[in-house]
Amino acid sequence: MSYVRAVERAAKGAAGIILQFPLYAGIMGIMGATGLTSLFATSLAAIGTGGTLPLTTFFSAAVVNIFVPSGGGQWAIQGPIAMHSAIAAGIDPAKMVMAVAYGDQLTNMLQPFWALPLLAITKVQARDIVGYTAVAMLAGAAWIALGLLLF
């Protein structure tokens, strides 16, 4: 059956997912259970005071995303920290929500986790595209930082 053949051909590209998702899940497990994510998030957010707190939260979320690429997993750990520090510093919590969101998406451009299906479909290697996505990331970081400071 040609559908089965199509799946067989596409399934070859799933090797990266099969091999690497458990590893990232393990990293997430360690980060959560040992309090490493909280440590990252709080110490990086502590550098910021008042007006710059959304900015430092944005960058700390970008760092945490390298280790915890899953947006839902990252929010579960970092979200409460960001919200509590927003209340403590008198910052609009809505802005902090978006600061975490922007940080989470930014370093996807360095982290090949989400690119695995794309790499399989386009047949390129991570190292073929990461230079270009890194340029996009730097420009995007500047733009997002500008937005966080302006509003």
């Binding site: 040609s2 559908y3 199509a6 799946v7 596409a10 799933a14 990266g16 997912i17 690497q20 458990p22 590893l23 899940a25 393990g26 997430m28 497990g29 360690i30 259970a33 309090g35 490493l36 440590l39 280790f67 947006g71 839902g72 929010w75 919200m83 509590h84 609009d92 919590p93 809505a94 929500v97 978006m98 969101a101 922007y102 989470d104 998406q105 996807n108 451009m109 986790f113 989400w114 690119a115 299906p117 794309l118 399989a120 386009t122 047949k123 390129v124 290697q125 991570a126 190292r127 073929d128 990461v130 230079g131 270009y132 890194a134 340029v135 990331m137 995007g140 733009w143 937005g147 509003f151």
Partner: protein, 313 residues
């Protein structure tokens, strides 16, 4: 100048970027080391955390969903309606620069709608535009197209499937963060996704990123790596005529099966303003569908896959 800078940066990364698997292994050991150095956790506890159900096995369901994204995305890409659409779209670009910009526009706009959709549309668009440019005899730097196809993942969290802004719209989730008497109420989307700040940031990214991709297109012919050198050519491209009907027809049919699976519980994902919620919760707890029925057979595979992706994460 930007294009030369892009080539330089790309070459630098090419020489240092490890294989993604190596990166995952290195990150694992780095995390273990950091946990031992920076937290008072003893080594056996760290290993317990790694091997527990909250560790390596916690993404089993999600890993299968990602595999299905890949497999059904491939099937979607080979279906006739998508092939026709991409063939028509792929006719548009006349240079390497606007080919990259087109792929970036497709990946980011769909990425704002839904991250999974953006990922698969970006990948398919990169591949198709690469094959179409090859057909037209225009040299295009194919790795840049693939990079442009990945940009949806840089705008998704400011879009309709964004986990964080969707999570805080529910009082229950706010209470989970702050306890029984939260100092704030649920945060509606008009203060997050539809705030002037996000319209500025995400709207700006939608314009900025395609322009950057266009500027990065290498002008030096010697630097251009065409799609065919990655095994993407007319015969292999997903719109190729080599195996025109069989696989494509079946793919179409399989997408309809997915349509039926999703249809009962979800309906048209983009008709529901709350549809992105599915991205943050399990499909079982997703909100009821706003409801609609498949329209024409030609668009149903796209809708089916869209519905399928919405249920993920």
């Amino acid at each position: 100048m930007i294009s030369r800078l892009g080539l330089l940066i790309s070459r630098a990364f090419r020489s240092v970027m490890p294989d993604p698997f190596v990166l995952a292994v290195v990150l694992t050991f780095a995390t273990i080391a950091l946990a031992l150095l920076l937290t008072p956790t003893p080594f056996p506890k760290v290993i317990d955390a790694w091997s527990s159900d909250l560790g390596i096995w916690s993404l089993l369901k999600f890993a299968m969903q990602m595999s299905l994204i890949l497999v059904t995305g491939y099937a979607l890409a080979t279906s006739p309606p998508v092939a026709r659409l991409t063939r028509r779209l792929a006719q548009l670009p006349t240079t390497g620069a606007n080919a990259a910009a087109l792929v970036a526009v497709l990946a980011t706009t769909t990425g704002v709608l839904n991250w999974g959709l953006g990922l698969i549309v970006g990948a398919v668009a990169a591949r198709e535009v690469g094959a179409a440019m090859h057909r037209k005899g225009i040299s295009v730097h194919y790795p840049l197209l693939a990079a442009a196809g990945y940009l949806g993942l840089m705008v998704w969290h400011g879009g309709f499937s964004g986990t964080a802004p969707l999570k805080v719209t529910r009082a229950a989730d706010i209470a989970e963060i702050f306890g029984a008497t939260p100092p704030i109420s649920a945060i509606p989307l008009d203060r997050t996704l539809f705030s002037p700040m996000n319209l500025f940031i995400t709207g700006g990214l939608l314009i900025l990123l395609p322009l950057i991709m266009a500027a990065l297109a290498p002008r030096d012919a010697a630097a251009i790596q065409r799609a065919e050198s990655f095994g993407i050519s007319d015969n292999d491209g997903v719109v190729a005529s080599a195996e025109p009907t069989g696989e494509a027809m079946i793919a179409n049919r399989s997408s309809r099966v997915f349509w039926r699976i999703r249809h009962g519980s979800r309906g048209l994902w983009f008709c529901s303003s709350r549809s992105g919620r599915g991205a943050t919760t399990s499909p079982a707890t997703a909100p009821p569908a706003s409801g609609s029925s498949p329209r024409t057979p030609s668009i149903s595979p796209c809708l089916a896959s869209a519905c399928f992706y919405t249920a993920l994460r």
